[in-house]
């Protein structure tokens, strides 16, 4: 009887792993298929083998060199790092007085900052486009970077984190005659590292993948970020599937690799997404 229960339990567990593996195929399979197409030689495009017959890296080389993916990769890197840097710096800077300094209007200001999150970007992207164009930011990477350089939910997140830090540290520093800026930069900012890391990763992924804003504000191909380059490639080479697949693989590889190394921070950043919505 006992062993019968055990067999049943083992069987149930085996069944569970079978389901888990099947689901893994559902979620990862399409990406494996993409890589498989990217590795195909020109002769074997319309075959349905997951492992290509004569795998080649030529498609990656062509996409990288001839179709501008080296440039797009560079542009995406610049944009993502700049937006991350600006957000980390500016969200922390803005959150500090809201969490720690007493001044008239602080609550209203915080409320107003939060309420900007309620407005869908697509409502105001047209006037934003006009503003940026007037400032001479059309078709420039700065035009991609600047509008997203302070995320309201980032301010919210860092502010919540500041509240968890005991006040003794800054009081001591204040008595020693440290200025507020020094207190923020030397004491408070380093103490919020976990929140900052989660924010940084979230912002990085969001901007690496951002499509609609670069689509609107950029024009010339040498300014394209990766999502635009991939979309453009798919429009230009409808029949050259292996190029599109190679470009798509180049575009997502950095984030997927980063994800497997920094999973903890990715999932930590999840709560940010919840706040952002």
């Amino acid at each position: 009887m006992q062993s019968g229960d055990k067999t049943l339990a083992n069987l149930a567990l085996a069944g569970k792993y079978a389901v888990l593996l099947l689901l893994l195929a559902v979620f990862i399979g399409p990406f494996l298929w993409m890589v498989s197409i990217a590795l195909r030689g020109s002769g074997s495009i319309y075959t349905f083998r997951l492992i290509p017959e004569n795998p080649t890296l030529q498609n990656f080389a062509d996409t990288w060199r001839i179709f501008g993916f080296a440039q797009a990769f560079f542009n995406s890197t610049i944009v993502a790092f700049a937006v991350v840097f600006l957000n980390v710096f500016l969200c922390s800077l803005t959150a500090y007085p809201l969490a720690r300094l007493k001044f008239p209007g602080s609550e209203i200001i915080f409320f107003l900052i939060l309420s900007t999150m309620m407005i869908p970007f697509q409502l105001y992207m047209i006037p934003l486009f006009l503003t940026c164009t007037k400032m001479g930011l059309y078709d420039s990477l700065i035009g991609v970077i600047l509008p997203g350089s302070v995320a309201a939910f980032g301010i919210f997140l860092i502010k919540q984190h500041y509240h968890t830090i005991p006040k003794d540290l800054e009081e001591a520093a204040r008595i020693d005659g440290a200025g507020e800026f020094a207190i923020w930069w030397r004491i408070m900012f380093p103490l919020t590292k976990p929140a900052v890391a989660a924010l940084a990763i979230f912002i990085f992924v969001a901007n690496w993948s951002n499509f609609i804003w670069p689509l609107i504000i950029l024009d010339s191909q040498e300014k394209y970020t990766l999502p635009l380059a991939v979309a453009k490639l798919s429009g230009a080479f409808i029949d050259k599937t292996q190029y599109i697949a190679a470009g798509a693989t180049i575009a997502v590889a950095p984030v997927i690799i980063l994800f497997f190394f920094l999973q903890r921070f990715f999932i930590g950043g999840l709560t940010l997404g919840a706040v952002k919505g």
Binding site: L13, K16, V19, L20, L23, L24, F27, P30, F31, W33, M34, I37, Y46, F48, L90, L93, T94, Y96, P97, L101, F103, P104, S106, T116, M118, I119, P120, Q122, L123, Y124, I126, P127, L128, L130, T131, L146, P147, V150, A152, V205, F211, I212, I216, L226, P227, V230, A231, S234, T241, I244, A248, V252, V255, I256, F259, F260, I267, L270, A274, G277
Partner: protein, 301 residues
């Protein structure tokens, strides 16, 4: 006297900290938001030599525009993804929540689509869904399930639903993690009490877990309906808004920027559509909080 001057200094200092964010948020968010509402009452277009105030004319035109009605219908239809996402992501979280060997590996795998850009996801699925050369129809034919390829993305009334599956597929891992967090927060005492009372798994799920997850379900409803109402990239990549799949955001983009498919830089008109989108997003969030929040409190009584 000294106190008040140091107080003034502190206030000035606080505003100095806030200044950079004020400038950026003001210039790139608040100002365009206000303009968006103002533009919706004008015939503004970069192609027009002058702009005039036309009152509600844009909205009157919207009501008479079949393209707008189709986009509105598709956008509301897209909300079908919300209940599907909730049911599937709860099921997924129940499956991967127990700590068994390698479970972290599976969870991470299911999360990969979440961190992958939609442009690529949409392109990969567009390839898979291809009527003649797509691997899905190939497999279905091999299995003998179909004789002719299904026009997943090339026939009206099918295409929009095909795109929905991609949206759901990409988002599931994200909502799964939210539900795992929710499940972890359920007190073990409650589950144990249910076990002692002889509740079956199904009863425990229905009477203990689901009520405990209700705040998460509400949050997921809000988040997924907001993103469903704003769907754009999937549509742009997979059908270019053709075959009856245009949504509100796609129409806003087309009318505001694109010169293709009958778009014409009619920015005032596009802003009017943006106002409708805003009303929908705001209305649905409000409605969800009201109805689902209500249920939660009565459920507890």
């Amino acid at each position: 006297m000294k106190f008040s001057s140091s107080r003034t200094r502190q206030i000035a200092l606080a505003y100095l900290f806030l200044l950079p964010a004020f400038v950026i948020i003001g210039l790139f968010q608040v100002y365009p938001m206000i303009q968006a509402f103002l533009f919706s009452f004008t015939d503004f277009s970069p192609l027009n030599p002058e702009t005039s105030f036309i009152g509600l004319a844009n909205f009157v035109e919207l009501v008479q525009d079949p393209a707008f009605w189709l986009a509105l219908k598709n956008t509301l239809l897209y909300l079908i993804v919300v209940p599907v996402i909730i049911v599937l992501s709860i099921s997924l979280s129940l499956l991967v929540e127990p700590k068994i060997p390698f479970i972290n590996f599976f969870r991470a795998g299911y999360y990969v689509p979440v961190v992958t850009m939609m442009v690529v996801v949409a392109l990969v699925w567009k390839e898979i869904f291809n009527t003649d050369y797509g691997v899905l129809n190939y497999v279905l034919k091999k299995l003998g399930a179909i004789e002719e390829g299904i026009p997943w993305l090339t026939r009206e009334h099918i295409a929009l639903f095909t795109i929905m599956t991609v949206t759901i597929w990409k988002g599931l891992g994200y909502y799964m993690v939210m539900f795992i967090v929710g499940l972890r927060a359920i007190s073990p005492d409650m589950l144990e009490a249910a076990l002692i009372d002889g509740a079956s798994r199904w009863q425990t799920l229905l009477h203990v877990k689901i009520p405990a997850l209700w705040p998460t379900i509400t949050l997921v409803s809000i988040l997924s309906s907001i993103s469903a109402l704003q769907v754009f990239e999937e549509i742009f990549i997979m059908t270019s808004g053709q075959i009856g799949t245009a949504t509100l955001v796609y129409e806003i983009y087309k009318k505001g920027f694109s010169m293709a498919y009958g778009g014409g830089m009619e920015m005032g008109y596009a802003c009017a559509m943006g106002v409708v989108l805003f009303a929908l997003v705001f209305g649905f969030s409000f409605f969800t909080v009201r109805t689902m929040g209500q249920y939660h409190t009565t459920g507890e009584n």
